[in-house]
C-alpha cells in the first residue's frame, strides 16, 4: 500500500468567486461567471464571452498588500490569492519566512500562459530599439516559471520549486507530483495547483482551432459547439501522514488515486473512443484500489467541445457502464475553461462536494448526445453520499489525467 497523503487546505479564485466559500455559493445557486470582457482589450471582446475575474490587477495587488508592485503578472497575482487562501485554510503560518520552519515544502505550480497577458501588450514596443522603460519590467516575466517564483518568494517556499505545463491537465499533474514527492520523502508537504489569466493569445489560439462558443457552453449536450475561456487559480495543500499526526489536523479529504496517460492520437484532439481518458481513469481506480461503482461523483473535464465530450463520454461509458453510472457534471459553464488552472480549481470543487455532501450541476444541458446513453446531472443534489470524487483533466498533446479525491473515514 502507498502511504496516505492528506488534503489539508484549499484555495480558489475564479469568475464565480474570490475564495472557496464564494465559489461554493455560486455553484449551489447556479450562478455562472460568463460575460463579455471588461478588462481585456481584444478584437473579439463582443464576440466571445469569457469567464473573467472582475478585479483589476491593482485590486488584486491591494488584496495581497504588495508594497512594490513592479512586474507582477496577472497570472502570478491570481496564483498568490488562491495559494494564500489554501495556506490559511491549512493553518500554515507563512509570514516572516516561517513557512518552512518545521516542514520541507514544495510549490508545484502550473500554467500555460504565464506572463503572456503582458507580453502581448508590450511585445511590439520591446522589439523597438527605443522601447519605453515601463515595458522593460515585463521582459523577464514571459516564461512560465516566473509566476511560480513570485508565488514562492511571497510565501517563502524554497525547498522545492517547480512548474508543470501539460496544457489543460497541468494542475492535475501538479497534484500527482506532490503526492509522489511526499511519498518518496523528498518533501513533507506540497502546494499544488495552477493559475492562468485570460489573454488575447489564448482567445485567438482557440478561435483558430474553431472550438470557441459564442454562446454559453453546453457540456455533453447534443448541440454543443465549443468552450468558453476563463481565468482563475486553484490550489490544494498536500500533507504527509506524519504532519497530520504531529499537528493534530483533522482533514476531511485525501488523494486516493491518480494517473497520467497519453492518448497518442493527435496533437490537439482526443481519440474518438477516449483511449487515453479510459486508461487514466482506470489506472487511477487501480491505484486507489477502488471499483468503478465506488465512485460517487465524476467532475468531468467536459469542455463542451464536440471532440472532448464525445471522447470523455465514451471512455466513461466503457469504464462505468451505461446504467448506474456515477453522477457526473462539468463545472466549466460556471468558470469557463481555465486551462492550466482547471485541475486545481476542480480539485477544490471535489473537496467542497465531499465536505458538503453535494453534487454540483452541469449547466445548459438539454439534449442528450446521440452517441451516448449517459447524461450529466443538471440540478444541485444535496445530502448525497459523496465518498470518492473522480476528477478528469485532459489537455493538448494527448495528455490525460485523473485524480481521485476521497473522504477520510
Amino acid at each position: 500500500m502507498h502511504s496516505k497523503v492528506f488534503l489539508t487546505g484549499k484555495g480558489v479564485i475564479s469568475s464565480i468567486g474570490k475564495n472557496a466559500e464564494e465559489n461554493y455559493q455560486s455553484l449551489i445557486r447556479k450562478k455562472h461567471g460568463l460575460k463579455y470582457t471588461q478588462l481585456l482589450d481584444t478584437f473579439h471582446k463582443e464576440v466571445f464571452p469569457v469567464c473573467e475575474i472582475s478585479m483589476t490587477n491593482e485590486e488584486l495587488i491591494a488584496l495581497l498588500n504588495i508594497q512594490n508592485p513592479v512586474g507582477y503578472t496577472r497570472t502570478a497575482l491570481l496564483g498568490m490569492i488562491a495559494v494564500k487562501e489554501a495556506l490559511e485554510d491549512a493553518g500554515i503560518e507563512w509570514k516572516n519566512n516561517t513557512l518552512e520552519k518545521k516542514y520541507k515544502t514544495a510549490l508545484i505550480n502550473s500554467t500555460t500562459v504565464g506572463g503572456m497577458r503582458h507580453t502581448e501588450e508590450v511585445y511590439l514596443d520591446l522589439l523597438k530599439p527605443d522601447m519605453q522603460s515601463e515595458s522593460e519590467s515585463y521582459i523577464d516575466t514571459h516564461d512560465l516559471g516566473e509566476c511560480t517564483e513570485r508565488i514562492a518568494d511571497y510565501f517563502g517556499v524554497h525547498s522545492y520549486v517547480t512548474t508543470i505545463s501539460t496544457a489543460c491537465s497541468s494542475s492535475a499533474n501538479s497534484i500527482m507530483l506532490g503526492m509522489r514527492l511526499i511519498q518518496q520523502g523528498i518533501v513533507d508537504r506540497a502546494i499544488c495547483g495552477g493559475t492562468d489569466s485570460l489573454s488575447k493569445f489564448t482567445i485567438n489560439g482557440f478561435n483558430t482551432l474553431m472550438i470557441l462558443d459564442k454562446e454559453h457552453c453546453r457540456p455533453f449536450d447534443n448541440t454543443r459547439v465549443g468552450l468558453n475561456l476563463g481565468e482563475g487559480a486553484g490550489y490544494v495543500i498536500l500533507e504527509s501522514e506524519r504532519i497530520v499526526q504531529e499537528e493534530h489536523k483533522k482533514p476531511t479529504c485525501y488523494v486516493s488515486g491518480f494517473a497520467n496517460t497519453n492518448d497518442a492520437f493527435h496533437q490537439t484532439a482526443s481519440s474518438p473512443e477516449g483511449d487515453g481518458a479510459y486508461m487514466a481513469m482506470n489506472q487511477a481506480l487501480e491505484y486507489a484500489h477502488l471499483k468503478p461503482s465506488d465512485i460517487s461523483y465524476i467532475n468531468v473535464h467536459g469542455t463542451a467541445t464536440p471532440n472532448n465530450d464525445l471522447s470523455e463520454g465514451r471512455a466513461i461509458e466503457r469504464l462505468f457502464g451505461t446504467t448506474n453510472t456515477p453522477k457526473f457534471s462539468s463545472t466549466k459553464p460556471f468558470t469557463g475553461h481555465t486551462l492550466a488552472a482547471c485541475g486545481g480549481i476542480e480539485a477544490v470543487y471535489a473537496m467542497l462536494a465531499i465536505e458538503h455532501q453535494v453534487i454540483f450541476p452541469s449547466l445548459n444541458f438539454k439534449d442528450k448526445m446521440e452517441e451516448l446513453t449517459i447524461e450529466p446531472t443538471t440540478d444541485v443534489i444535496e445530502n448525497y453520499k459523496v465518498d470518492h470524487v473522480l476528477s478528469n483533466s485532459f489537455g493538448f498533446g494527448g495528455n490525460n489525467s485523473t485524480v481521485i479525491i476521497s473522504k477520510v473515514v
Partner: protein, 355 residues
C-alpha cells in the same frame, strides 16, 4: 535514491558535432556572434515526409534527438516521457503572437498556436512512438531539466524500467534582441570558444536538445549511473551553495575528496561565474574543473548538455582538452559532480558515477 538509476542511452543535437558520431567533440566549432544554433541533423531520416513539412524547427530537432536516443539505448517502449524546457517552442509562440498583433487578431493560422504549447515536444514523441505512458513537461526556468530528472528517478524508485527524458530550447532572433535589453548577452561579439577570456557581463545565447534513457537495469551500453540530483532555489550566499553540495554528497555517503571531476556551468558572465570558482577552490580542490557553455551557449535547460558531456566522460574515461579550464593529468574518473546555475536563482546538482 535507493534504487540505482542508469543512463543507458544518450543523444545531443547541439551547436557542436555531437549527433550520430562515435567521436567525443572531435573538432570544436567556433561562433562569433554570441548566437549559437544547432548543427542540423538529417531530420528526414527520422521523420516521415508528410509530417516533417508541418513541424517547427524545435519539434524536428527534439523528436529526432529523442528517437536517436532510444535507438542508442536499444529500446522501443517507454514507461514515461518527460521533457524540460524554459521557453518551450518560442519561435512558434512569437510567430503566432506577431501575426496576431500585426493582423489585429484576424485571419490567423492555427498551426503555430498548436505547436506553441510547451508540451508539444513530449506530445509528438508519444504520438509518433504510440506511447500511452506518463507524459510530463517541466517549464521552470533553470530547473526545468532538473525537475524532469528527479521525476524520472522517482519513477525508477516506483518500479518503472525505462524513462525517456530530454531538455530542449531553441534560439530566436527576436527573443535574443529583447533579452539583450536586460543584459543577458554580451554587448561585444566574442569568439565562443574564448568565452572565459572576456570579463564583461552577459554571456552567449545557445540552444539544443539533449535526450537520455534512464533505466532501472544496467546494460552493455550503460554510460553512467545517476546517484542523485538536487535543486537549490535562490541561495543567499556561497555558504548555502556549499551546504547543498555537502548535503547531496552526505546523503550518498561520498566525500568531497571522492569527486574526480567538477563540471561547472561557467558562462563567462563576470557577475555569475564566481560561485563556480569558489566551489572549485574551497569545496572540491582535488577535482578537475571543467566547463561546456563555450560549446553550446547559455539556455534554461543547458544542464542537459552538461549531462551529455558527463555521460561521455564517464563511459569513455577521457576528458577532451576543450572542456578543461586548466590542463588535467589523466586518471581514472569515478565520480562527477555537475553543477549549473541560472543567474544564481536556480541551481542544479547532479551526482554521477562510473559504471
Amino acid at each position: 535514491m535507493k534504487k540505482a538509476v542508469y543512463i543507458n542511452g544518450i543523444a545531443a543535437i547541439s551547436p557542436q558535432h555531437t549527433f550520430e558520431t562515435a567521436e567525443f567533440l572531435p573538432t570544436p566549432v567556433n561562433y562569433d556572434d554570441n548566437y549559437l544554433l544547432v548543427v542540423d541533423a538529417d531530420y528526414k531520416k527520422y521523420i516521415n515526409p508528410v509530417q516533417i513539412r508541418r513541424m517547427s524547427r524545435i519539434l524536428k530537432i527534439s523528436y529526432t534527438c529523442a528517437k536517436n536516443c532510444m535507438q542508442d539505448a536499444g529500446i522501443t517502449s517507454l514507461d514515461a516521457i518527460i521533457t524540460g524546457t524554459g521557453y518551450g517552442c518560442i519561435d512558434d509562440t512569437e510567430k503566432f503572437l506577431l501575426s496576431m498583433l500585426h493582423q489585429n487578431e484576424q485571419m490567423l493560422n492555427p498551426t503555430a498556436f498548436m505547436q506553441s504549447t510547451h508540451n508539444s515536444v513530449s506530445g509528438i514523441i508519444a504520438l509518433n512512438m504510440k506511447s500511452n505512458a506518463y507524459n510530463y513537461t517541466y517549464v521552470h526556468r533553470g530547473l526545468s531539466f532538473e525537475s524532469s530528472m528527479i521525476d524520472a528517478m522517482i519513477h525508477i524508485q516506483e518500479g518503472k524500467k525505462n524513462i525517456l527524458i530530454g531538455g530542449f530550447e531553441e534560439n530566436s532572433k527576436n527573443h535574443f534582441e529583447v533579452t539583450n535589453k536586460i543584459s543577458f548577452w554580451k554587448k561585444n561579439h566574442i569568439p565562443s570558444l574564448a568565452l572565459l577570456e572576456d570579463k564583461n557581463i552577459g554571456t552567449i545565447a545557445g540552444e539544443g536538445a539533449n535526450f537520455f534513457v534512464l533505466s532501472a537495469d544496467k546494460t552493455a551500453n550503460t554510460y553512467a549511473s545517476v546517484l542523485d540530483v538536487s535543486m537549490l532555489y535562490k541561495p543567499k550566499s556561497y555558504d548555502e551553495v556549499a551546504a547543498a553540495i555537502q548535503d547531496l554528497l552526505d546523503k550518498n555517503n561520498i566525500s568531497t575528496a571522492d569527486i574526480d571531476v567538477y563540471i561547472s556551468g561557467l558562462n563567462g558572465d563576470s557577475t555569475m561565474d564566481s560561485i563556480y570558482y569558489e566551489v572549485a577552490d574551497k569545496c572540491l580542490p582535488s577535482a578537475a574543473l571543467l566547463y561546456f557553455k563555450h560549446l553550446c551557449g547559455e539556455y534554461y535547460t543547458v544542464a542537459s548538455f552538461g549531462l551529455w558531456v558527463a555521460s561521455m566522460i564517464l563511459k569513455r574515461q577521457e576528458i577532451p582538452a576543450i572542456l578543461q579550464v586548466s590542463k588535467q593529468e589523466k586518471k581514472q574518473i569515478k565520480y562527477i559532480l555537475l553543477h549549473n546555475h541560472y543567474r544564481n536563482i536556480n541551481h542544479g546538482f547532479y551526482l554521477l558515477k562510473h559504471e
